[in-house]
Symmetry: C2
Subunit: 323 residues, 2 copies
């Protein structure tokens, strides 16, 4: 699905430059790296993070080339983390396309992810801003730390705070950086940087909640993976948390609370069907909408830049998208 | 083995600060990351790369804190690459200590390596120098690209140029950066940076050749792995190349040339014993000495800094060390 024209239009050419910048990162290295990079970029993605970066950077008058480098760095960092995630999860498909690890050995996949990290760092250095570099590096620490925590912690945890921490690390941290970094790059005053940081945080939280909702409501063919794949792997997301809160006495909930979220396929299928058709989805969607509302409130703290409506529209798109 | 006092003495306290800086990188993250980092640092290593960085940075008057950050970034980058290397090679021991992948799942090992990359990038940003950041990122690209090329290329290649490219990517590139980055950090003139770059390149090449010699001449207990483990994995290093050049008619060489370096254990054991006791080791050591000589020549192009003898001593130590 392409990003709606309204907020995409002002940065359409820049996004193409960002993609060219990313593709150029394999130049001069092993030819299979170019093939991997092209495959990863062709597998789509909405380029929503660099769109945020470019809209905010242009709004604040960031220098054009450092801004393009930063936007490319953020998209490439995102891509690199997906390469290692898919390997660790053993995922063979992403957005209906084969993952790198479906085609390459684990060793080659690890190294390709590492290579993409190195090129993302190179592009981030091309922002020529030390504060941006530091934010960029600490965001990667945050993302990886979140993945590790998920790996080490007990599965099947029904815990809102834990869920919020996890989706912050996994998704909202990079959205936050996508919005705060261009403000830092533009030497904006602290309160402007803070407002954009808040905006990025809120749309990132909303984005991941929507992903977690779509994991339940989407069709397997569109998702490119089984419905409720997280729950099937013992990962509890917001729809399940809402369902548990709304139906504390339901038999499946009692089974789930006893840690039974991955033992019986039959129970699990019943639980998934119950969540899909319950008010839990509506409740989770309302919580995503709350984040969008707070994102728009963060924009209200900013001066009346002419481009502000684009960011508001983008925030609303986050919860209206179908995938 | 500790680094000889003569060149280690002037930076002994700084090395301790570098180690503390590295240890502090896990603060605030998942506690198992601290355990992993401590284990990796305790597993030893000679800290030769940060020693090079500190000696040169102090010689040129680099600002103390950015220099410490840079030295820590370089050692941590080295550590991070080893974590992924050991995973990919399936190595269970390094310097006689268990590797991370010997204890952790592949997923946790990949993520720990990623985390260390992110913290190395954070420390590199702490150099507060954009040229240093760029050099740092491109060095990681070089290292990873070399690993990938080794993975994708045919094994059992007897090719000097290929060998030189491989050991440059694997080892000399980071030594080069260890020497050039502190010069960049000190805003040294281009010819000074170039001389240090050359110095770093030459000691890096010498270092890897010595490692490849010790792989043949060392005792299994000291190496912490079987003798000639590279050759047993189809990786041809300089001692083998020299042996092939000196003994083109030997039966094992003819077998090797036909691509038979991993098929027959008996032939392989005979070849390894022949290399160990032949003039090939002396020849390879002489080539390492040539690199050290060129490293010292690069130093001769520099003004007479009082610390120059330390760097000369360090270069000679590279080929005199036992492991």
């Amino acid at each position: 699905m392409s990003i709606p024209t309204l907020f995409f239009a002002p940065i359409q050419n820049d996004i193409q430059e960002v993609e060219q910048l990313i593709r150029a990162q394999a130049t001069g290295y092993h030819p299979d790296l170019q093939a991997a990079l092209d495959h990863l970029l062709l597998s789509g993605g909405k380029r929503i993070r660099p769109t945020v970066t470019l809209l905010i950077g242009k709004m604040l008058g960031a220098a054009p080339q450092p801004l393009l480098n930063l936007a490319a760095a953020i998209e490439l960092l995102h891509t690199a983390t997906l390469v290692h995630d898919d390997l660790i999860d053993g995922s063979l498909l992403r957005r209906g396309n084969s993952t790198l690890n479906a085609k390459w050995s684990p060793g080659a996949t690890v190294l390709t992810g590492d290579f993409l990290f190195s090129r993302a760092a190179m592009l981030a250095a091309g922002s020529t801003s030390i504060p941006v570099m530091e934010l960029f590096a600490s965001t990667l620490s945050e993302i990886v730390n979140g993945e590790l925590a998920q790996l080490f912690n007990a599965s099947c945890q029904i815990d809102r705070e834990e869920y919020n921490r996890r989706i912050y690390a996994k998704t909202a941290s990079l959205f936050q950086t996508s919005a705060a970094a261009p403000a830092l790059l533009s030497d904006a005053p602290a309160e402007i940087v803070d407002a954009f940081r808040q905006y990025g945080y809120e749309i990132g939280m909303a984005f991941q909640i929507m992903d977690d909702i779509l994991d339940f409501t989407g069709q397997q063919e569109v998702l490119g993976k089984p419905v409720a794949s997280d729950l099937r792997h013992g990962i509890i997301t917001l729809p399940t948390i809402c369902y548990v809160e709304q139906n504390p006495q339901a038999a499946e909930v009692i089974a789930l609370r006893s840690g039974d979220c991955s033992t019986s396929t039959q129970n699990l299928d019943a639980l998934i069907e119950a969540i899909r058709t319950s008010g839990a989805i509506t409740q989770a969607a309302a919580e995503a909408q709350d984040h969008v509302r707070r994102a728009v409130e963060a924009l209200d703290r900013l001066p009346d830049y002419p481009e502000k409506p684009h960011l508001e529209h983008l925030a609303r798109y986050i919860v209206d998208r179908e995938l």
